[in-house]
């Protein structure tokens, strides 16, 4: 029994959640305050990763990230078949799960919160970070949990751009698939049980923690 897939999954889930959180906070700010009538377009674009089947999304990511692909030519980074590549793929794949709950929560706050902050001389960024975001803390938490869980359960994208390489891109979901392919059904069952147990503990921990 090799536990490295679980550590890889936990690490991937954690890093992806942090990266997406940091990315999405300014994105929501931009969409909420500056997009005006263009807002539906941004929202629609951000939901697109949900449309393509994961393996298909993975295929196009592979084309983009491969050594002679446009990402490598633009940045010089070879991301396909590496852990870093998985983070990029997961961030794109899980983007709607981070963005949508936060944006929806911000939009549902009464306008009077913003108006009051503006009247008191706060600018948009101050209003956003000091008034609006603190009001939607539960949604921030929910979005992070969804992103983490979605990344842990991710399969098609990772199989395509990661290539099932032990200790590097063989995360827990891929390891389960690998054991089934190898006809090691008992090991696959154990892996699946550990993955579910681990995820349950993490989710309970997060949901059980009371927000101040």
């Amino acid at each position: 029994m090799n536990f490295s897939p679980f550590f890889l999954s936990a690490e991937l889930g954690l890093i992806t959640t942090i990266v997406l959180f940091v990315m999405v906070i300014p994105m929501v700010y931009g969409i909420h305050f500056f997009s005006g009538k263009w807002a539906p377009i941004w929202k629609a674009l951000a939901s697109l990763p949900l449309i393509l089947p994961p393996t298909v999304l993975g295929y196009y990511l592979l084309i983009a990230l491969r050594p002679d692909g446009w990402v490598a030519q633009l940045t010089g980074l070879e991301l396909a078949f590496s852990f870093e590549g998985l983070v990029v793929g997961s961030a794109l794949y899980s983007l709607p799960f981070m963005l949508t709950p936060i944006l929806t929560a911000i939009e549902n706050l009464p306008d009077s919160y913003e108006e009051a902050a503006f009247t008191l001389g706060k600018n948009r960024w101050q209003t956003y970070t000091r008034v609006l975001l603190p009001c939607v803390k539960p949604s921030l938490l929910a979005a992070s949990v969804l992103t983490f869980a979605h990344t842990i359960g991710e399969f098609g994208v990772i199989l395509m751009i990661g290539g099932n390489i032990p200790d590097e891109t063989r995360v827990a979901s891929i390891a389960i698939y690998h054991e089934v392919e190898a006809l090691h059904y008992a090991t696959a069952d154990r892996y699946a049980l550990i993955l579910l147990g681990f995820s349950l503990v993490v989710l309970l921990g997060v949901y059980g923690k009371r927000l101040n």
Binding site: F3, S4, R66, G69, V180
Partner: protein, 249 residues
Amino acid sequence: MFLKTFLICIVCVFIAISCEKKPTIRVALAASLLPPMEEIAQRFEAETGHQVDLIPAASGVLSTQILSGAPYDIFLSANKIYPDALRQAQKGIEAPKLLIRGKLAFWSADPIEPETIPSFLQTHKGRIAIADTSLAPYGVASVHYLRTQGLLDTLRGQLVFGENISQTNLMIASDAVTVGFSASSALFHPSLKDHGHWQVIEGQVVPQWALLLTATSSSKSFWTYLFSPQAKKVFEKFGYVEENDRMSG
């Protein structure tokens, strides 16, 4: 506090994992070859100290990944179109080489005499699991067998298709079907051999192809080992044959 300890543990383990990394031979292979290849890889590791990683997936997925620069050293496929296509795309050191031949296997939940398989199928009412018939060679062999027995038209509506042979094996292992066709390698696998009843169907062979992708000394040594008498012995143990009647293959 707990979270911090947990994070530190994750980081430590990850560092430990990255440090012990030594040059490994990565073999991308069709799922049907996994049972014998696991044993061959283990023997090679014991003999040489090299590490062999086996990476099973659908041949089409593996080919796409190899074309995109996947770090695989050797590619094994039961369908020659994939190694041929890779070779044409300037991947691979030499032309694809015939590794070994696999056989088609018949599985049933109830015991059946080998010679009565056709008549049993004639009256069988339930689903029959086979591998995909457009891409998976064992699926092609299964359909070829049914056609030569004159059963294909009768049974066409009862066939259920696994994307590859391991999905077909999964249908068999989970008793989702009572009859199925698979690779003979399944007969010798601990998870499947004692499950229901297996027979090898003679006359249906599936050639397995190997393509060398990198010319490093470690990948070359495993390549040589793959074609050695020791490896042949393991393949034979899993129901593969080196030579077959000259009509096929």
